[in-house]
Symmetry: C2
Subunit: 509 residues, 2 copies
C-alpha cells in the first residue's frame, strides 16, 4: 500500500491543457489527459478518448492520426459493405461522422445498432474537403459500450418540446436541448467571471429562511413535522417548537436583505442561487424554482446600479456569443430568427433612460393599443414595457423612479415623496429583465416606511442594524437567470431552459 504514483511523461502541452501519463509501482499504466481524455478499463493502459470539441477546435494535429472517441449514436445508415454513424459526445454542438466497412470484426453487431447506443470508436481522422463536414473518422474499431433499443424515444425525427418535457432525463441528447443547457452553463460562468474579475464577493445567501424578504409572493414551507399528526401546543396552535428549526421556515424568495448585510462589509457582492415562488401561475414564464443573480454595491447609487447592470448584460451577451457560437447560430437559424441581430443591437447601443413618469406620458397617448390602460400609479405590464423598448427606443431602456406604492418597502424615497429610486431594465423581445433600486439607507425614513406598511420592526432588526451602524448609500438589482437564458436563446417556455423544471403540479425526476 505504499505505492507511489509517479508522473513519467508529459505527452502533450497544448491549448493550455496539460496532459500526462502516470504509472504506479504495480505498473498499471494510467493515462490521463486533463479535460480531454480518460482511460478505458480498470486503470489499464488503454485507449485515450479525445473530446469531439478538441477535434473541431483544433483538427490539424489529428489529421491522418488514429483517434479514439466515446459518444452516442445520433444516426446510423449502412449498406451491405459499409456504413455511416453520426456520433455526438456532448462536448461540442456538432457531431462527427464515422465511416465503417465490413472489415470491422463486429460489422454485424455494428450494422444492427440503434440510435442512442454508446460507442467507443477508434480510427483515422481524414479530411473530407468536398463533404458537408470538414473531416470524418474512418473506423478501424467500433466497441459497443452500451446498446440502445428500437424503442429509444429519440429517434431521428422532430419531437415537440411538449413531448420532450416528459423525458427530461433524455432531452439533453437532442440538438435543441444540448444547445440550451450548454448555453446555461456558459452563461452561469460568464456571470461569475464578470463579478469575480471586478472583485465582487460571491455570497451564498440562505435557501431556508425564517423571513419573507419582499413581503410578497407565496412561499413554500419547509418542515420536518409529521403532517399526519401536526403537533399542537396548549392553545391549539401548531407547536413549531417541535419543528426542525423550532419555528416556521420557508424557501427564500430573494437573497437581497442578506446580501445587503454583506455589501456593508465587502462593498461589492453578488448572489447566484436558487429562489422559489409558490405562485399558482401556469404560464410560460413562471417556475416554482429558478435561479437569481443579485449584486449589491455600497457607496453607490441608482446611477451606478444602472451602469453595472448595462455593463453586466453586455459582458454576458458577448461572452456567450463568443463561447457558444455554434449554439447561438443554431438558435438564430431554427428557434428564433433574428436572435443574433437583437443581441448585437444590445451590444452596440447605449441603453436609454427614462423616468416612470415620462414613460407613462408616452404610453397613455397609446392607450388604444393596450389591453391594460396606463395611468400614473399603475404598474407597467409586459405589453407596455415591450412597446417602450421595441417601438419607442428600439434598444434596451432603463425606467426609473416608480411610484412608491408599487415598489418594495426598502427602496430609497426620492425627494418628491411620491417616487422611489427604483429601476427596471427593459429589453426588446421580452420586457423587464432586471429590477433594481437604491436602498433606503436612512434609518428614520426606513422605519417610517415600515410603519406605513404596518411591518414589524422586530422582524427586521438585523436589517435596521445596517442603517444604525455605518450606513452607506447602496444599490443592487436582481436578474432572473432563466429569463436571461430565454433572452439569449430565444426559447419561449421556462420549462425548456431548466434541466428538471418545477411548476404547479409538476415535480418529476
Amino acid at each position: 500500500m505504499n505505492q507511489t504514483i509517479r508522473k513519467v511523461l508529459i505527452l502533450l502541452h497544448q491549448n493550455n491543457k496539460q496532459a500526462m501519463a502516470v504509472v504506479d509501482d504495480s505498473c498499471r499504466g494510467l493515462f490521463f489527459f486533463t479535460g480531454n481524455f480518460y482511460t478505458t478499463g480498470n486503470g489499464e493502459s488503454g485507449m485515450k478518448l479525445i473530446d469531439i470539441r478538441e477535434i473541431f477546435q483544433n483538427p490539424n494535429p489529428y489529421f491522418e492520426q488514429e483517434v479514439s472517441i466515446g459518444g452516442w449514436v445520433r444516426s446510423i445508415r449502412n449498406s451491405k459493405t459499409f456504413g455511416f454513424i453520426v456520433i455526438n459526445d456532448g462536448t461540442f454542438f456538432e457531431p462527427i461522422q464515422v465511416v465503417y466497412t465490413n472489415e470491422l470484426d463486429n460489422f454485424e453487431e455494428v450494422e444492427k445498432l440503434n440510435v442512442g447506443a454508446a460507442l467507443v470508436v477508434t480510427g483515422v481522422l481524414v479530411e473530407t474537403p468536398n463533404a458537408k463536414q470538414p473531416f470524418e473518422i474512418q473506423a478501424s474499431k467500433v466497441e459497443v459500450e452500451g446498446a440502445s433499443t428500437s424503442d429509444y424515444p429519440l429517434q431521428k425525427k422532430r419531437h415537440s418540446f411538449e413531448y420532450l418535457r416528459t423525458i427530461s432525463h433524455l432531452r439533453p441528447r437532442t440538438n435543441t436541448f444540448e444547445a440550451v443547457f450548454r448555453v446555461r452553463s456558459v452563461l452561469s460562468y460568464a456571470i461569475h467571471k464578470f463579478f469575480q474579475e471586478r472583485d465582487f464577493v460571491y455570497v451564498h445567501t440562505p435557501i431556508i429562511t425564517g423571513s419573507d424578504c419582499e413581503g410578497a409572493g407565496e412561499m413554500f414551507q419547509v418542515t420536518t413535522l409529521d403532517l399526519n399528526n401536526v403537533p399542537q401546543d396548549e392553545a391549539g396552535e401548531i407547536d413549531y417548537g417541535q419543528d426542525f428549526f423550532g419555528k416556521p421556515a420557508n424557501l427564500t424568495v430573494s437573497g437581497q436583505l442578506n446580501g445587503e448585510a454583506y455589501a456593508m462589509a465587502f462593498k461589492k457582492i453578488y448572489t447566484f442561487g436558487p429562489t422559489f415562488r409558490a405562485e399558482n401561475s401556469n404560464t410560460t414564464r413562471h417556475a416554482a424554482e429558478f435561479w437569481m443573480i443579485e449584486p449589491e454595491i455600497a457607496f453607490a447609487d441608482l446611477y451606478d446600479d444602472m451602469i453595472l447592470a448595462e455593463e453586466m448584460l453586455k459582458y454576458i451577451i458577448r461572452y456567450v456569443t463568443e463561447h457558444a457560437k455554434e449554439e447561438i447560430d443554431f438558435f438564430d437559424s431554427f428557434v428564433d430568427k433574428g436572435l443574433k441581430q437583437r443581441l448585437r443591437n444590445v451590444l452596440e447601443n447605449d441603453f436609454a433612460r427614462i423616468t416612470y413618469t415620462e414613460a407613462v406620458e408616452i404610453l397613455a397617448k397609446q392607450n388604444d393599443r393596450f389591453d391594460y390602460k396606463v395611468t400614473w400609479g399603475c404598474d407597467l405590464q409586459t405589453e407596455h414595457e415591450r412597446y417602450l423598448t421595441e417601438e419607442i427606443f428600439k434598444r434596451p431602456v432603463f425606467v426609473t423612479d416608480y411610484p412608491k406604492e408599487i415598489k418594495a418597502f426598502y427602496m430609497k424615497m426620492n425627494e418628491d415623496g411620491r417616487t422611489v429610486a427604483a429601476v427596471d431594465c427593459l429589453v426588446p423581445g421580452i420586457g423587464e429583465i432586471i429590477g433594481g433600486s437604491q436602498r433606503e439607507d436612512n434609518l428614520d425614513k426606513l422605519k417610517q416606511r415600515m410603519m406605513e406598511l404596518q411591518m414589524s420592526e422586530k422582524d427586521y432588526e438585523f436589517y435596521l442594524d445596517l442603517r444604525k451602524y455605518g450606513s452607506a448609500r447602496h444599490a443592487g438589482f436582481g436578474l432572473g437567470f432563466e429569463r436571461c437564458l430565454m433572452y439569449l436563446t430565444g426559447m419561449q417556455n421556462i420549462r425548456d431552459v431548466v434541466p428538471f423544471p418545477r411548476t404547479v403540479k409538476n415535480c418529476e425526476l
Copy 2:
C-alpha cells in the same frame, strides 16, 4: 427621453480593468471605473472611489496623488490636533490608515466618530517607508456617510466566535470572517474555473425533488398545505393532490442521479448547489443546509475519477492560496498554525491509494488506539481515516473498493461480488473530504441490487433508462463545499464558514 449616453473619454486602462467617463445629453456626468469606482451623488459628476485592493495591489500610480475611498472605521484614535483612522472597505484584507488634522472642516465631527462608521475619505496617498504600513492617506476631507454608535457590537477587541454567530449580519466586518467569506467566494470561483476550463457543463440539478437519491438521510418536506388543516382524502390519508406539486416533495440531498442523466448527454458535467439534511446532529461538522459539488464523467472509471479528484483538489488549493494570499497568511498565523504547510503537502505529493481491505488490515493492528474497533465490513470512522492519512501515509490517500453493504445501491459491483468501486479521499487534518464511485452501468446488475435492497424500480425508471439507452461507464464524486472550506481555512466549526448557518433549532436572519 431620447437622450443618448456617449462615451467621451477613456481615462485609464490598467491591469485589464477598463475605465471610462460617460456623459449624457443632459450633461450629467457619470463616472464609472469598471470594478473599482462608483459615482457619488445622483449621477452628478463627483468623486471617484477607489478600492483599497487596487491601492495595495498597484500603489505606484497613486503615490502623491489625491485619492478617495469609501469604507468603514475599524479603529480611531486622536489627540487634540490630529488623529488616525484605520479604514477597511472590504475589497482587501488589509485596511488602510488615514491621518487627519484639525484643519479638517469637520474635525470635531470626525474626532467623535465611533468604530463602524461609514466614511468617504479624500486625501493624498503618501509612502511611509518607516511605518508598519507601506503608505497612508493624508486626509483633506472626511465625509461621514453613516455614523455608528458607541454600542456598536464590534469594538476593537477580540470577540468569541460563539458571540459573533449571534450577529451573523455584522461578523463579516471582522478580520476572521472577512477572510473566511472572501475565501469562500474565491474557492467557489476556483471550482467553476477548474471545471469550465476543462469544458465540463455546469448543471443546476433540482432543489425540490420528489425522490430521495441515496435512500438515506432525513429530508425536509416542502409543502404549501395548511398545517392547521391538513387536507385528507376519503381514506383518511393526506391529500397531496391539494399540495403545490400534487404529491409529496422534499429538499434534495444530492443532485447525483440527475447529474448522471446529464453526464450521459454531455460526457463531463458538474453540479454546484445547495443540499439539505434534516439530521438532528448538533456537531461542529453538520449543517442542515450546505453546498455540494458533484462532477460526473462518462466513458470513465474509478481511476479517472481519482485522477480528476486529485487534480481538482490541487487546482483549487493552488488557486486559493494565490488569490487569497493575505487571508491564508492570516489563517496560518492566527487560526490554524501549520495550515500552509499542510496545504503545501497536498500540492507537492501524489495522493496515495489503498483498498479498503488493505486499510482494514493496517487499522485492525492498531485497534488499541481506536474508540471504534476495526473489522472488515465496518464503516471507517474519522479516527481511522485520520490515522491512515496522518500517520501511515502523511499525505492524502484514496481508499477504494468498500464492502457493498456500507455503500449506496448505485455503485458498481466489483468482480469479487463483495465490494463496490467506491472511493473516499482522506486528507490530513480532517479525514474524508471526497466520496465517489464508479456507477453500476449494467442494467441487470443494477436491477438486481435494487431488488436486494427492496427498492422500487418504478421510482427509478428514469435512472434505469440511462442503462437501457446507450449505457456507458461513468463515475463521479461529491465534494462538500463547507468541509473543503474548513480544510482551506483551518476553521473548526461549520457555523463559521456559512454566511447564515442553518442548524437544529437555528434559522436566524
